[in-house]
């Protein structure tokens, strides 16, 4: 099973990286009001059971892949 984890800065959290990307895009002429930069993590899992895999990945996100103080995460599974 393949998993894709999307980690984002939570709303309201200052994202200087996103601001730098936004201002660069504007300099290129793109009309962008806001940019937020997150992270994508692709994983391959042995787990065949989707519910179990999701529970496992949530623990992985809470413990390492995201810092819950400042980041939210989404898990997408693909068998």
């Amino acid at each position: 099973m393949k998993a894709t984890i999307l980690v984002r800065p939570k709303p309201g959290i200052l994202d200087p990286q996103g601001e730098a990307v936004q201002s660069s895009l504007r300099q290129l002429g793109f009309q962008v009001d806001e940019a937020r930069v997150g992270r994508v993590i692709d994983l391959e899992l042995d787990d065949a059971d989707e519910t179990a895999a999701r529970a496992e990945l949530e623990r992985a996100c809470e413990q390492l892949l995201a810092n819950p103080l400042i980041e939210s995460y989404e898990i997408a599974l693909q068998s």
Partner: protein, 232 residues
């Protein structure tokens, strides 16, 4: 001075630490017996305090400090801290302590996105701790910072708690990096674990422009000595 017993203080070297030798040198000069401990060690030697130094442990992959917290030695550091042992994290060491949950909050990229490397003035908020006892409350210290990710973040509720418990030990006089409430250094609730972004080990010799860092590290040496003598 010289006949006073020298408390043993461990400085942990992670792959990518680069201020470990400076920290050890500064601690030695301030009357400690500094000893370097490699990150892969599962146990700490018998000691009176631990310092996690500055640098870029594990290349700062994922988030700074996020991987270092899994180093074998961190289990021992966690136990040491839980037993009330003195733990100081400087810069990357502060980031590691936050990621490890030994200190509240988290450090993020500077609001300016620039790497900052210069002297800053910090105000000592509380002097009744093992890390600030040589300073006076309200005293202004000049200590260099050098970091790209020193923007301290805690949400409003945590911030209120930190303030109420007196855990904010140092604040920037002019906020260089966007930290909430201009926080430069924060302690745990029991004040035996402390992390700060400025580098006291780079401010212990007049040749380097300031000796104010000696007030922080000297406080730690005093407290470590006291603990060593009490334990003996």
């Amino acid at each position: 001075m010289s006949d006073r017993p020298r408390p043993r203080i461990a400085v942990v070297t992670f792959p990518g630490s680069n201020d470990d030798l400076d920290a050890a040198l500064a601690l030695d000069r301030l009357g400690a017996d500094a000893t370097l401990v490699w990150h892969a060690e599962p146990e700490l030697p018998d000691l009176a305090a631990v310092v996690l130094p500055g640098g870029f442990s594990y290349g700062d992959y994922l988030r700074c400090g996020a991987i270092a917290r899994f180093a074998p030695v961190m289990k021992a550091v966690r136990r040491f801290a839980a037993e009330g042992g003195l733990v100081l994290g400087i810069c990357n060491g502060f980031q590691v302590l936050c990621e490890a949950g030994l200190l509240p909050g988290v450090l993020r990229p500077n609001a300016s996105l620039s790497f900052i490397c210069r002297d800053v003035a910090v105000c000592v908020e509380h002097a009744d701790t093992p890390f600030t006892s040589r300073a006076e409350p309200g005293q202004s210290l000049t200590i260099p910072v050098k970091h790209g990710e020193g923007c301290y973040f805690a949400d409003a509720e945590l911030l209120r708690e930190l303030d109420a418990n007196g855990q904010i030990l140092l604040r920037y006089e002019e906020n260089p990096n966007g930290s909430v409430a201009a926080i430069a250094g924060v302690a745990n609730e029991t004040a035996n674990v402390f992390g700060l972004m400025p580098h006291p080990e780079h401010a212990v010799d007049p040749l380097l422009g300031s000796t104010d860092g000696a007030l922080i590290l000297g406080s730690l040496v005093d407290a470590a000595r006291e603990r060593m003598l009490t334990a003996a």
